[in-house]
C-alpha cells in the first residue's frame, strides 16, 4: 500500500533529476576510465624519463631520474627534514592566507555593500593591486625581518586581492529583481544582508578563495626563497646551492601536490555549498 503510493512520486522526481543519478555503477566505471585516461600521459612521461636517464641520454645533474628523486624524497622523510620544513611552510601559508583572505572577504563585503566605502577604498585598493608582487619581497624582508612576519605578510598581500575583488563582485551581482522580492516579503536591512546578499555572494567568494590560494602558494615559495632559514622553499634553495637537484625536484613536486590538493579541497567545498547550481 505504502510502496504503491510512493511510486509515482519517485518517477516524477526522477524525471527531473540529472541523468547521472540513474545508474551509479556506470558512472563510477566511466569516471575510473576517465581517470586512467588522464593518467596515461604523465605515466608515459615518467617512464620515458626514467628510461632515458638509465640509458645515460640526459644529464643526471639537470634531470635526475624519477627513481633518484624518489630516493631523495624518502631520505628527506626519514631524516625528518621534510616533515619539519613542510610543517613550517604550511603554518606560514595558513597564517598568511587566513590574514589576507580574511581581510579581503571583510573589505570586499564592506565595499560591496556601501557606495561610500567603495568610493573611499576601491581606487586605492585597485592601485595597490597593481604593485608587482615580487618587487616588494625585498622591502618586506627589510621591514619585517627575515623571520616569520615578512613571509606571512607577503602571503597575506597576495591572498588579499582575488578574494577582495570576487567578494565585491559577488555582492554587486546579486540579482536586482530579488531585492524587490525581499521588500515584498518585508525583510529588514539585516535580513536582506543575511538571507539575500550573503548567499548570493557565495559563488564569487568560492572563486576568490581558489585564486587567493593559488597566489598564497606562489607567495610562500617566493618568500622562502628570498630570505629564509626554514621551510620547503629554503630546503630547495639550500639544495640548489649544493647542486642537489633531486631535492629541488622533490620541492617542486611537493608544491605542485599541495597546490593541487588544496584546490581540490576548495572545489569539493564549492560542490557542496553550491549544489543548487547543478554541475
Amino acid at each position: 500500500m505504502s510502496s504503491h503510493s510512493s511510486a509515482p512520486r519517485r518517477t516524477s522526481k526522477w524525471a527531473h533529476s540529472p541523468p547521472e543519478h540513474r545508474n551509479r555503477r556506470a558512472v563510477l566505471l566511466r569516471r575510473a576510465g576517465d581517470a586512467l585516461l588522464g593518467l596515461l600521459l604523465p605515466v608515459a612521461v615518467l617512464v620515458l624519463w626514467q628510461w632515458f636517464g638509465d640509458a645515460g641520454r640526459i644529464s643526471p645533474l639537470l634531470f635526475p631520474t624519477p627513481s633518484v628523486i624518489w630516493a631523495s624524497f624518502l631520505w628527506l622523510l626519514e631524516t625528518g627534514m621534510l616533515g619539519e620544513s613542510l610543517g613550517v611552510s604550511l603554518a606560514r601559508t595558513a597564517a598568511g592566507f587566513g590574514l589576507g583572505a580574511g581581510l579581503g572577504l571583510v573589505v570586499g563585503l564592506a565595499v560591496g555593500l556601501s557606495r561610500v566605502i567603495e568610493r573611499l577604498l576601491d581606487s586605492s585598493v585597485q592601485m595597490l593591486r597593481m604593485i608587482p608582487h615580487i618587487s616588494v619581497t625585498f622591502l618586506f624582508v627589510l621591514w619585517f625581518g627575515i623571520g616569520e612576519t615578512s613571509k606571512i605578510m607577503l602571503i597575506a598581500k597576495g591572498s588579499f586581492f582575488p578574494l577582495y575583488i570576487y567578494t565585491f563582485l559577488g555582492v554587486r551581482n546579486t540579482d536586482n529583481k530579488l531585492f524587490e522580492v525581499v521588500r515584498v516579503l518585508g525583510y529588514s536591512r539585516f535580513k536582506t544582508l543575511v538571507r539575500l546578499v550573503l548567499p548570493a555572494t557565495v559563488p564569487g567568494v568560492m572563486l576568490g578563495i581558489r585564486l587567493s590560494l593559488a597566489i598564497a602558494w606562489v607567495s610562500l615559495v617566493v618568500s622562502e626563497m628570498m630570505g629564509s632559514t626554514s621551510g620547503l622553499g629554503y630546503l630547495m634553495m639550500d639544495a640548489r646551492a649544493m647542486s642537489d637537484t633531486p631535492i629541488v625536484f622533490v620541492g617542486i613536486a611537493l608544491f605542485t601536490l599541495l597546490g593541487k590538493l588544496t584546490d581540490m579541497l576548495v572545489v569539493y567545498m564549492e560542490r557542496r555549498l553550491l549544489a543548487w547550481r547543478g554541475s
Partner: protein, 259 residues
C-alpha cells in the same frame, strides 16, 4: 455593498525621463471588495503594472489615495502578496525553503502550513528540489505558495503566466482558481490576454493607454469553472473587444494617431 478592502481614489502617476514627463496613470478610481477576483486588462504601456506596483507599495502615486483596510499604503509588506511575471525564487533554496523564506521550517506551524501549500499548488514530491530543476509553471506555483504562506489580505499578480506556453498557462489558471476558491484570497491580476481576464475575473477593469485610465468595467456573471468554448464566455470576450475598439476610435478621434 460591504466596505471595500482596497480603495483607490483619484490616483495619478507620471514618470519623468530626461526631458519630458509621461503620465502613466490618470484619475484611477477603483474599489475592490474582500474575496473579489479583479482582472485588469489593457495593452502594453497602459500603466497596469504601475497600478499594481503602487497597490503593492513598491512605487508611490503622486496624488490620490490608496487604502488597504482603510489604512493608506506606506510601503511593501507581507499583507500585500505580489507575484511577478518571473517566479523570482532564491536559486540557492529548495522549494520548501523558498516558500518558508525567512520563516523557520523547524517551527511545526510553519512546517504544516508549507506542506499544506505544497499540496495546494500541486508540487508534492518537489519539496526538496532546487529552482533550476523546475519548469516555469512549477516555479511560478512556488512563488504563489510563498506569497500565500504570509496570508496576504490581497494577492497582486503582474502578468504571472505571460511567459508560459498556452497549455501550462491554462493549467495555471485552473490552479489559481482552485486557490481562490479554497482560500478566498482577494486577487487582482493584470494581463493582456482577454481569455485570461474573462476566465478568471469576477470583474474586469479595462485600461486604456497614454495616459492610463479606466475606460470601463465588466462584471462577469458566469459561474466557475468557466468553459472557454461556451457561447456565454465568447459573449464576454466580444464585450471586452468592443471596449478596446471604442478606445481605438477615441484615440483616433483625439489625436489622429493609432495606439
Amino acid at each position: 455593498m460591504s466596505a471595500a478592502l482596497l480603495e483607490i481614489e483619484n490616483l495619478n502617476k507620471s514618470f519623468r525621463t530626461d526631458s519630458k514627463s509621461v503620465q502613466a496613470l490618470r484619475g484611477i478610481e477603483l474599489d475592490v471588495r474582500e474575496g473579489e477576483f479583479v482582472t485588469v486588462i489593457g495593452p502594453s504601456g497602459c500603466g497596469k503594472s504601475t497600478l499594481l506596483r503602487i497597490i503593492a507599495g513598491l512605487e508611490r502615486g503622486e496624488t490620490g489615495t490608496v487604502k488597504l483596510s482603510g489604512e493608506p499604503i506606506r510601503g511593501p509588506g507581507i499583507d500585500k502578496g505580489f507575484i511577478f511575471q518571473e517566479p523570482r525564487l532564491f536559486p540557492w533554496l529548495t522549494v520548501e525553503k523558498n516558500i518558508a523564506a525567512d520563516l523557520s521550517l523547524r517551527k511545526p506551524e510553519v512546517r504544516s502550513k508549507v506542506d499544506e501549500l505544497i499540496r495546494l499548488v500541486k508540487l508534492e514530491g518537489f519539496a526538496k528540489a532546487y529552482p533550476r530543476e523546475l519548469s516555469g509553471g512549477m516555479a511560478q506555483r512556488v512563488a504563489i505558495a510563498r506569497a500565500l504562506l504570509r496570508k496576504p489580505k490581497i494577492l497582486l499578480l503582474d502578468e504571472p503566466f505571460g511567459a508560459l506556453d498556452a497549455f501550462t498557462r491554462a493549467h495555471m489558471q485552473e490552479v489559481l482558481l482552485d486557490i481562490w476558491k479554497h482560500n478566498g484570497t482577494t486577487m487582482i491580476l493584470v494581463t493582456h490576454d482577454i481569455d485570461e481576464a474573462v476566465f478568471l475575473g469576477s470583474r474586469i477593469m479595462i485600461l486604456k493607454p497614454r495616459p492610463g485610465e479606466i475606460r470601463g468595467q465588466i462584471a462577469v456573471e458566469l459561474s466557475y469553472p468557466r468553459k472557454k468554448a461556451s457561447t456565454a464566455f465568447q459573449e464576454y470576450r466580444y464585450r471586452v473587444l468592443r471596449e478596446f475598439e471604442r478606445i481605438d476610435e477615441l484615440a483616433w478621434g483625439e489625436s489622429g494617431a493609432g495606439i
